[in-house]
Symmetry: C2
């Protein structure tokens, strides 16, 4: 298979210079003493009269170019940062330059001139714009190497997720995001006009992924989900990427938890091993992960919160964010783990398809995985018998009809199964010890933000 | 990393039988003479009084079980097809059985009993339900091995797409699907209520993928797109998966076409090499693909249609489906290629961001890739200079303000770039020589269909 050359040249414009293959800045070392052709953005320039230090940035990194001819300086004279340039010059060793090399005797070609002054600098080690200014100027601000690194890591997290599951015999599926009825309840769904009918944006692929267990046994999906929750917090957005997993022939929720813990480790390892430069740049600390993640049963978690912190929440049906933080502190201290499973959430707080705990019907085989003080994953064992679905919907006074296409899966035989959903942006946020999902989402959507 | 065992057993229910590890049906051969535990669906059963041939189906295939004990036959007596069973029995060689082995002396455990008769049979070699009956019962019908195979191939096509692009230095991104304004025009967008404001579902990630070229140079996205086109054809759906690519520092659209042809071959090869069983089952013929795909310039394509078929369409601004079929016949005959590039589509038919052909401004550097008679990919070189965008929008009497977050990318320096979008379901449809996208979409969305 032919290798793709970057920058093919139109024959009638061809010159010696332009026909030279482009070299990425990170790869100039092996060309020491030779002429190379670089392309990229003017990251910054220090003009010192008769010469200038030009820092050129491409996808691979930043390189230094010494410009000392009048003619070449003139090309750069009126340009603002971020102008796009092509530079042909000779690679020289220079221990003070980024990467240990710099370019001498450059011939510069202007590709795109920038005339506007940047809204904020992106050529300092740390980006100092406030979050709203940054997001308003995302197309520009995301060029900052630290910002870019966040999304290189996000891509690696997705890749690690896929690789691990493919290796375990899972099949990737794509299910519809426009649906006829709200996935789990009538609340918090975006409504849209579908050729004169009402339709909704899927809150999750829950029903579809369960249906697919009947076809593939083991499936996953990576896709956007939509939540019309009208609150505005640092931990919620109205659109995010959900990493969904579902599989059959489990014993119970513990089979699911076992797969999830191994997957979580695989995703972290994939990021740490495939993004070494980004991990160093962002100073990411690998989480403490024992071979088995500690697990606490929901009512015991409430008891523990009471015992350790005096907060008598033992009648509560859910954990508060503060409870989650306390439990994670405890797990780190007692088990040297930054991950903690909480199992057995009460039935009242879990959707109708959640399998009850056979030993105590007040509780379920639903779990959360907490990571560094915050809920990262929700999952569990699902009901798998048709009669149980009919009963669960009836008990909740929900009609059967809107669910008929889904219920067919159970009518025609389904094995015990379960799964979970990981929020991609939340995984990256917690891995990076960031405080706001808006820092790990390219173009966040919230109550106030629909652009860019 | 610990291997996940399928089917961990709850300790208090553990018996000798249940603690045995599950074997997939396709993998029983190496266990010849041994006892194995299988789990799956009752694909079909032939009851012959004192014994029965049970075909059990799991994700890996179908296996035959000889049931000849009264006790075991009683378990199966009232069951309909698709009941979920666990079978423990001994592997025996049997050349007439699927895979060359069968199971003797089974002990059967009923997991999920099916009492309803199937809406149509899925245990015949070919599925004979009409498309609407099939789609109404998708959760059931997709279990047919031929239907399942289609989506195994779809997953492999996505995997091939990702693998090739990752190997070429592309980064995967995820961009928002809820947007503040229509991507390319006001028409054919789904409108939704976003906390009291109007918002829209993205018709494509076009603006975002171009913006990302400024950050990563080379990016791709695999995500749903939404088209509110009110027509109902076999070749259009209102939601589909778009495989989007965009990259910078190109010479012109030909750099993009070169990458696309190599990618197309990589995707086809990935499917053919990773889905051998499915390729055989569906009798898929690898497309004729010369090392270079033939290319025809748009006005020449119209001339050719006139010359070969007498259809004087030389003043038309676009190709009709019939024209596309004729051109593909010609390319197959003249170049032994089932792929054909058409370049230079007229400016009037291409969006404002399309780069004109510098040599003839009536035409563009936009192209389509036709495959087996149908348009599969649309792509091209984009404008990259800010001033060109201002002019293009002004010429089309479009306001600048709604595009400001996008235009910022060009204001702050963008290289020549281009890209394309491949419809995943359409790629699979054409590869399989199917006639309807509804056959290669798990849960299609069209004018009339919103469920399941």
């Amino acid at each position: 298979m032919a290798d793709l050359e970057i920058g093919i040249t139109v024959p009638d414009q061809m010159t010696e210079t332009q026909s030279m293959k482009r070299t990425l800045i990170a790869e100039i070392g092996p060309h020491l003493g030779q002429e190379v052709r670089l392309s990229g953005w003017m990251h910054t320039i220090r003009r010192l009269g008769k010469f200038a230090f030009l820092l050129l940035r491409d996808a691979s990194g930043v390189g230094q170019i010494i410009v000392d001819s009048k003619e070449q300086l003139a090309i750069l004279a009126e340009l603002q940062d971020e102008s796009v340039l092509e530079v042909v010059g000779t690679v020289v060793a220079q221990s003070n330059a980024p990467g240990g090399f710099e370019i001498h005797k450059p011939t510069i070609r202007l590709i795109s001139a920038v005339k506007d002054v940047a809204p904020f600098p992106i050529n300092k080690a740390t980006l100092n714009a406030n979050i709203d200014t940054f997001l308003d100027n995302a197309a520009f601000g995301l060029r900052h190497p630290q910002k870019k690194a966040v999304f290189t890591i996000s891509a690696a997290a997705m890749a690690g997720f896929r690789k691990h599951l493919n290796d375990q015999g899972f099949t990737e599926v794509t299910t519809p995001k426009i649906v006829a009825s709200a996935t789990e309840s009538g609340a918090n769904v975006f409504k849209l006009d579908y050729f004169g009918r009402n339709a909704y944006l899927a809150q999750s692929p829950q029903f579809y992924k369960q249906m697919m267990v009947g076809i593939f046994e083991r499936i996953f999906e990576v896709a956007p989900v939509f939540r019309a929750e009208p609150h505005s917090t640092t931990r919620h957005l109205n659109e995010y990427v959900s990493l969904d997993v579902e599989f059959g022939f489990i014993e119970d929720h513990r089979t699911v938890m076992k797969l999830l813990s191994v997957l979580m480790r695989a995703m972290v390892d994939h990021v740490m091993n495939h993004c070494k430069a980004e991990v160093a740049l962002l100073d990411i600390k690998a989480p403490a992960m024992p071979a088995e993640f500690p697990t606490i049963y929901f009512p015991e978690a409430l008891e523990l919160v009471y015992k350790l912190h005096g907060d008598d929440c033992r009648d509560e049906p859910d954990l508060s964010p503060q409870h989650e933080r306390w439990l994670c502190e405890w797990a780190l201290k007692e088990y040297q783990s930054e991950f903690l499973f909480v199992t057995g959430y009460p039935s009242s707080k879990r959707p109708f398809y959640t399998h009850p705990n056979p030993a105590d019907l007040r509780y379920t085989n639903g779990f959360d995985l907490l990571f560094r003080g915050t809920e990262l994953v929700t999952g569990g064992q699902r009901l798998h018998l048709y009669a149980d679905y009919v009963k669960a919907l009836t008990d909740r006074q929900l009609p059967l009809e809107p669910f008929s296409g889904y219920l067919d899966a159970f009518r025609y035989g389904m094995p015990p199964h379960g799964g979970f959903a990981i929020g991609l942006e939340r995984f990256v946020m917690l891995l990076l010890n960031y405080q706001n999902l808006r820092e790990t989402t390219l173009f966040p959507r919230d109550l106030n933000r629909l652009t860019p």
